[in-house]
């Protein structure tokens, strides 16, 4: 029992890092455009399927992960340029519906290209096997998965907090007009930010492929999980997204042991509890 619980905790931690990574991408897009990206789940699914396709072509896993980041990022840039940017001036309801339409199209395109049955892929050989911790086994891929997510989050955090590009992005988030007046190309930054957010979602999809496989409902599932993570963590808070992502992952994996039937609903219970105790989210500002 202890070993099972320990295994589930480690599992939850790794999955939670993936949730944090995806929610982080959603958070960037939300911050830049002030619009919830309804196509985020579709970008995540696209990443998983692209990773699968790349592995089938015989590419090494590292390149497949790169593709899982780049293809959704590119798709995100196109979506932003052709649609979201044009709808910038109206109420965000139109941007929202536009992204809803994009999500529908991408979901169906994935089904057309890769079919309706679920796909699975194995991790490369150097990531197979497990460490023996004495009380439980820790699969190598889980370690890689968590580490990759952590490193990516750290890199993007440094990019946003410590570089010139990042400070321009933050300026664009805070005061769009002012930043424009100072000669910052806000439109370009927004496209970059959207691409980055979509890319992070895609990378998450690529990372979970050896763990959970790819299927037609993964996008919608992840979309709602990412929303819940943002609400629990508090909109606009990076630490919040991280902490809430891990929390949601742990809740899911632990409840899978004790109450498997309720595990999908429990994260929403956690959301409601958070809202009742701290309406602004764990780390959100009022």
């Amino acid at each position: 029992m202890v070993s099972l619980l320990a295994a589930q905790l480690l599992n939850g931690l790794a999955i939670g890092m993936i949730y944090a990574l995806t929610a982080f991408g959603l958070s960037i897009i939300k911050g830049l455009l002030n619009v919830p990206n309804f196509a985020h789940g579709a970008f995540y699914a696209l990443g998983a399927y692209v990773c699968f396709a790349a592995l089938q072509l015989g590419l090494p896993f590292a390149l497949a992960l790169l593709a899982a980041f780049l293809v959704p990022a590119l798709a995100g840039a196109v979506v932003e340029r052709l649609g979201v940017a044009r709808l910038m001036r109206g109420p965000y309801l139109y941007q929202l519906l536009f992204l809803f339409g994009v999500a529908l199209i991408m979901e169906q395109l994935i089904l057309i290209i890769w079919g309706t049955s679920g796909l699975s892929a194995t991790a490369p050989e150097w990531l197979q096997g497990a460490f023996d911790l004495g009380f439980t086994y820790l699969p190598k891929y889980l370690v890689f998965n968590g580490a990759m997510a952590a490193v990516t989050i750290a890199v993007v955090w440094l990019l946003i907090e410590r570089t010139r590009l990042g400070s321009q992005i933050r300026a664009g988030i805070d005061k769009r007009e002012m930043a424009q007046c100072l000669g910052i190309n806000v439109a370009g930054l927004v496209t970059t930010g959207f691409a980055l957010g979509a890319g992070l979602a895609g990378l998450s999809g690529g990372l979970v492929l050896p763990l959970l496989g790819a299927n037609s409902t993964m996008g919608a599932e992840m979309l709602s999980i990412a929303f819940v993570v943002l609400v629990i963590g508090g909109l606009g808070s990076l630490y919040g997204a991280l902490a809430a992502g891990v929390l949601v992952g742990l809740i899911q994996s632990v409840s899978a042991v004790f109450a498997p039937a309720a595990s999908t609903v429990l994260i929403y219970v956690a959301m409601v509890a958070t809202l009742m105790i701290r309406p602004q989210g764990l780390f959100g500002e009022r």
């Binding site: 709808l87 809803f100 994009v102 609903v265 959100g284």
Partner: protein
Amino acid sequence: MRRVTSTYLVSAVAIAAAVAAPLCMPVNIATEIAIYGIFALATYLLVGVAGLYSFGQAAFFGVGGYVAGYVFIHTNLPLAVGLLLAAAGSALIALIVGAMSIKRTGIYFMMLTFAFNQMIYYLAYSWRDVTGGEDGLGGIRRPDLALPGIGTVDLSQHMHFYVLTAVLFVAAFAALYQLMHSPLGLILNAARQNPRRTASLGYSVYRAQLLAFVVAGAASGVAGALFAMLYRIMPIDAISWTNSGTAVFMVIIGGMSSVFGPVIGAAVFIWLQGFFSLIWARWPLLFGVFIILVVLFLKGGVMELFERTRRLISGRTRAQPGPGREASTQAGTQTVTQTSLGTETGTPTAAGKEGGAR
């Protein structure tokens, strides 16, 4: 001040449309349009009148459907009781969801309604004993309708069921129109345009919006109940977030400038769905393309198309920027100036600040 068109007059148009519908299309299609018409009207009350961009209306549609389905499978209760229970169940859920969401404005509100929708979806998904889970809740009967003085009406006949649906649709339509021009409707309208000013005038914006949310939830529940009875099955898809998106889309495609907009939107959606699903199994793709085209090129929806045609015919070339709102929904609140839709609570900066973003 512009006179408000009488509820009777506007309802007469709805009645005429409801009578004409089964003459020009298969009766089940007409029934479905009437059902989705109720759903779209409820969503219009939130999105168009109150400015509450809810992306979780399918939750209430679904709860109504499941409640009615459960009642009509497991009990012998009469029709009216089943419908009332469906409305009450949805209203109760809407009260809980609304109470937790409405205080958060802008994007936060929208994300919360969406998340609650997903929560209820997964509840329905995993509570197989009651909802049938993935397979849907099948074998829902249509109880006979006992009318005092007329006798019992057999609703298993499609035409009879259509008449029931159409009557409820016209009632919902008239009620919504009446509500829009009631003091509550005016408060909602004012709060959409300037919530702080409305609050400082002494109105409780929260209470008015919560009331609207509950009313819309109850109406969606009735629509869901009728939907469950129409095909005698309550599919799990009807409660999914895609259906919530559909509800918002019906409001937009019809046009938010008039109360007829959502009804036209419902008709367009049902027709498109039927048409697209005939040509291709992957019809949501075509639907997605359609949504994008409308959002990019016809923001005012079908009502804007009418408006453009009318202006073309009357020869006036004066260009009006943006999706111009008809004054009919505005009467009485003209004191609050509204330049465009963008000045609503949903402006990026305002929503961002209130939504707790940094």
